[in-house]
Symmetry: C2
Subunit: 306 residues, 2 copies
């Protein structure tokens, strides 16, 4: 067994304040969100998705994203990003002084219709417009590609559909496509297969991976992706994004679980593990449930080893 | 990226009824244990560690192991095993009709003293005697090697200590050494390093791995070990073994999380995922806390995908 070659450095995109909190039922007040973002900046995260400029009717938790942006302490070199669904969202994002914006398409039609009420093709027309306007403002655009490993409505998603949608997102101007396991069903074999197919059409340096830990395989999927040469991963402090109706339920891959493994592998990230844990623990009292992060749970207990 | 070669078949050793339940605070009654073992047999597990013939003073939860053995329904071909600390335990195990026995040594002195009140050397003398007596009865002996990736008292454990203890366990007659991450601190790089070192002295076909999911990296460690050619893994239905004081806390790698990933990778195990989940869920009402298994938690919730 030869130890596989892994990247020396990984860029972690922190999505907790957006992808994490948007799924929380308890209303989180603005000051708490600002404190979370500031704590994540202090932890050394290079990219923090602060919120979303979407309709407050659809995502009430994100209604105050503009005010959060106005109050966060911006650390030089850190990218503060936001999700935008359309030209209106982009204008609000620009007014708030975002560093870059993120668009979100799906690899499966049913999910696209359910999530954003558009076909995939319609959404790409909207996003092409966003990307054009963003470019005029000198803003980079990142794209999420949801349901790339499985759809809650359709089940398996054909790899060709994933690859072609990724390619179209790249072609309309996204500098990076975050290939997302929205429902947490991916396994390492699928990661290798999907990345091989994408890599035949796009440079893998333009691809990030976004895992949820629904079946406990998120870090195994990260390991598989590292071996394929992927160097950008999304994660959410505390594993935020879990369902409040199931205590301990798995949401996004927890940033601290990711950093813990990368630290162990000797892969640099610039992120301080302690700082991430501090940030994650600071938000917990406002959630109405415990953090799903394995590491936070482990630190809390004094287990007698067996 | 060439998809790494992985084994086609994996043998899963189910340790929930022993390593899982022994850490539970709530007394579990005998009939419940029998039902759990029977459900695990039905799920197709090839090896089930039913209990331990240790002093009830130290591990009250295992006091009725003999009665459990007397009442389980034995499926032909399935190995029903038990932990034995010494010649007395072995005699009780033989009387109960075990298929094989397991001994448990540590790679770190402090853990050995805390866990079994013997130095490593003393324990190996005891185990050599157990192995000799077991061989006379035609019983195979499996060995756990605790704290192989880290010790709760000493921290890092030198790899040479792990390798030499594994070698001594093999030499005293154990047919397999379950190299164990007792406190769940291993990462894939360490798995590769430890296996490379062990593989230089023992055939890796005589090595199993035993992970805890404390930091969410258990399946990543399994993936790393699969790539090194390991084909036997311990797991515990429901992730049993978590601390009852921390709801959702991570114990052993959950059997269903392991089977889910292996199924995805196309690696056969002979184990039915649904059957494992049924077994795990059946024990939950008796625990006084939720199962730590990611998959069981996920099945329980109806999350709105994001």
């Amino acid at each position: 067994m030869i130890r596989p070659l892994l990247p020396g450095h990984v860029r972690v995109v922190e999505v907790g304040p957006r992808d994490g909190l948007q799924n929380e039922q308890a209303p989180i007040d603005m000051a708490t969100k600002v404190a979370l973002v500031d704590a994540l900046s202090d932890a050394g995260l290079p990219v923090i998705e602060v919120g979303a400029f979407v309709s407050p009717r659809w995502v009430p938790q994100m209604a105050d994203t503009g005010e959060v942006f106005a109050r966060i302490r911006r650390v030089p070199g850190v990218q503060y990003t936001a999700l935008v669904p359309n030209a209106t969202g982009l204008r609000r994002a620009i007014a708030a002084g975002v560093s870059e914006v993120a668009i979100f398409a799906a690899a499966s039609e049913s999910f696209s219709r359910q999530n954003i009420h558009q076909t995939i093709a319609e959404s790409l027309v909207t996003y092409a417009e966003v990307a054009r306007d963003a470019a005029r403002e000198g803003l980079r655009v990142r794209a999420y590609l949801s349901t790339a490993f499985g759809c809650p409505y359709e089940g398996a998603v054909p790899v060709e559909q994933v690859v072609s949608t990724a390619e179209r997102l790249r072609n309309l101007g996204a500098y990076q496509v975050a290939v997302s396991d929205t429902i947490g069903v991916a396994h390492p074999g699928q990661v290798w297969d999907v990345l091989a197919a994408i890599g035949a059409r796009l440079p893998l340096s333009d691809v990030a991976l976004h895992f949820h830990d629904t079946r406990g395989a998120a870090l195994a999927n990260v390991l598989a992706a590292l071996q394929a040469g992927i160097t950008t991963f999304d994660a959410s402090a505390g594993g935020l994004g879990g369902c409040p109706y199931a205590p301990g339920a798995a949401g996004n891959l927890a940033t601290e679980d990711l950093i813990s493994m990368l630290d162990g592998l000797g892969i640099t990230t610039g992120v301080q593990l302690d700082g991430v844990i501090t940030a994650a623990v600071s938000i917990e009292p406002f959630l109405g449930h415990g953090l799903p992060s394995r590491l936070v749970q482990a630190l809390r207990q004094r287990r007698s080893p067996e």
